[in-house]
Subunit: 423 residues, 2 copies
Amino acid sequence: MNFHKEPDLLYFDLLDLELILNCNHEDCHGFYPTETVFETDIIMNFENLEEDFPIDKIYLNNASVSIMPSSSINNMKDFLLTYDKIGPDSTESEQFIKELWIKTRKTISELIKCKSDEIVLTQSTTDGINIVANGLKFETDSNVVIRGKNHEHHANYFPWLRLAKKIDLRNLQIDQNGSFSITNLHKLVNEKTKLVALSHGLYNTGQILPVGEIGEFLKTKNIPYFLDTAQTVGCMGDFDFPKTNCDFMAFNGSKWLCGPMGTGVFYCKRNSSDLLDPIGIGGESAIQHDDDLVFMDLPEKFQTGFRNYVGLVGMESSIRYLLDIGLVNIRNHIIKLSNVFRDEISKIPGVTIFGPDDESCRTSIISFEIKDLKPEYVVKRLEEKEIIIAKREILEKQVLRISPHLFNSELQIMKTVEELKKL
Amino acid sequence: MNFHKEPDLLYFDLLDLELILNCNHEDCHGFYPTETVFETDIIMNFENLEEDFPIDKIYLNNASVSIMPSSSINNMKDFLLTYDKIGPDSTESEQFIKELWIKTRKTISELIKCKSDEIVLTQSTTDGINIVANGLKFETDSNVVIRGKNHEHHANYFPWLRLAKKIDLRNLQIDQNGSFSITNLHKLVNEKTKLVALSHGLYNTGQILPVGEIGEFLKTKNIPYFLDTAQTVGCMGDFDFPKTNCDFMAFNGSKWLCGPMGTGVFYCKRNSSDLLDPIGIGGESAIQHDDDLVFMDLPEKFQTGFRNYVGLVGMESSIRYLLDIGLVNIRNHIIKLSNVFRDEISKIPGVTIFGPDDESCRTSIISFEIKDLKPEYVVKRLEEKEIIIAKREILEKQVLRISPHLFNSELQIMKTVEELKKL
């Protein structure tokens, strides 16, 4: 199924639903295109996507690493062959790589709705977080505000914890889902606050934090704001990330974006670039003026040493694939799957579900536990049935986690529930 | 031509040379295996290698970015498919990735002759240099000794130049090829010297520095020693890098190692790890102890955020390809090619050659200029003839540079010379 060539085949009207279900015309892939639709009305036939993803198992661990569409893998190989064929460092390849950069930045800026030069390519979310943690200028009485300590993913906790030796690290107390009261935030920040660092979506409970509301408040106080968006970019629908007023943001290409491992993005708001000194420096990030160095402008300032072109190709291809399907469609599909899963497992005796009930406050992540069954045992037993789910932690508690993505189906969810019931 | 399956086909005795040249037996690929050979006696039939490298042009810019063997590109695609097929984050893939790490470390340790846990995977040479420049602990009266300032590659100059604001940056005066007198080094270092940072092979003149002799001296003084080996690993024959007594070393996978762009290695001597604090920190590089962080041991300590598995596959495959052919064979082949080029262009009126005459003191890089012809003009004209060479600089002087690698042939060198004569 190639969405790039026949985009209008993706769209059909809600009113045509019955017609569609009865339509067996091969060219229509089982659904019926119409001429005018609004994005919120678009519905996809997600069943057909399974063909595009090279896995026969039921893979429900996309919040960790997702599967790449076959087309992205093919594009990566084609890139490597072409790059070598034209001569990797030649005048011809210079143009070839320049076009790759432009295309990649254009696609990412469409994804998160930022300016093209605000995108710094990295190898991971971790890299982006470290650019901020190491790049800020602190005084001894500075403070940084974080959330929940060990409730947070280590990648977005350790770099701040390390700072605790030289500055005041302030922690927002959390509720059972990992959220916190804005009043508490108001109390913790002051004129010495150099940063508030949060995750947009939580890796363990699936809670989405009200990052827009927080951003509004921090803007009035002129306090820099960092968001780890690894768990939201690609699965949040039509979300305007810079509208949160965040100054910095980090995510990677291998979770919800279905790109290759080892790719990531650091977003730096154009006007916030001066808040950070770059950690790494090299031939691409600075120029020499007499015996002094002058940093280049964004994005080169923070991007020295990056050369993973084949990774860019994979990430760009996968993002384009998602954008062609429509981020709203994906969000609707996966939240539906997680709701089905939630409803079904709530009927199993001994199951406790974590995270918010309200679907608008969570990603497709569902965390749960089964009384008297150790999570590693459940993961192992399901893997024997070719179903992949994850074991994670909510503070000290070990839990099970599913995180369905676009290529998963309701049938797969029901099979998973059936296997859980048998344990 | 598959060297992995028939390694003994690579070997034949010097004495059999005439026999070989007359042998047309298909299985022998035109040469004759013998049972016992010494590495220095091994000769390869390099002509056949052209098939393994997907380029039709004459590519002589390998000191910048080399070409990948087709087998490495295929292995990368196979990896991506398999990784997705088994489920990227699953119990099965854990084992799969573990084996990839072991294999990659084994191959790299065979290449540079170090211990497996002394290898930190990075995305570039630049990354490795920045790990050292940002990781060392300085006092205000500390000094660092470098060589030649702008004669050095920016990647191995800018990170040290940046330090000049807080420490004493000392510069070794150089001769016309970029080398320096050991006596001068003796004078520059003292008990406040925190590091001597050098390049092993110079990107512009091809000069190989006497890094072993320098290392012997620095060892007696207990002065830490960093080497940028981007221009020597893979093209220096059977060189024992840790025998130089260097503490740290950085190189990448995309120059002489024929691996993908965006891959690199930072070598850290096991006992020198304590000299550096890691810049980046994340879930893989530290553990939490109460409210404090404890760094992991080598190599994890410096490797947080690295996840470019497909890059590892490409780099490992390419290094294995080179090792199977034999690093001594490669060195002999490419130095022969560069000697032919040197001899031939020296006959062209108006050509000036830079770099040492003695072949044992240089890599296969040959830099030169042609009177009254601008380097960019020459590069452009040759590219029109499908010959790729580079423009580089020796201090303020713009020069031309060729850097033949294993897949290049004497015929290609002669064609290049012919085209240069026509200009």
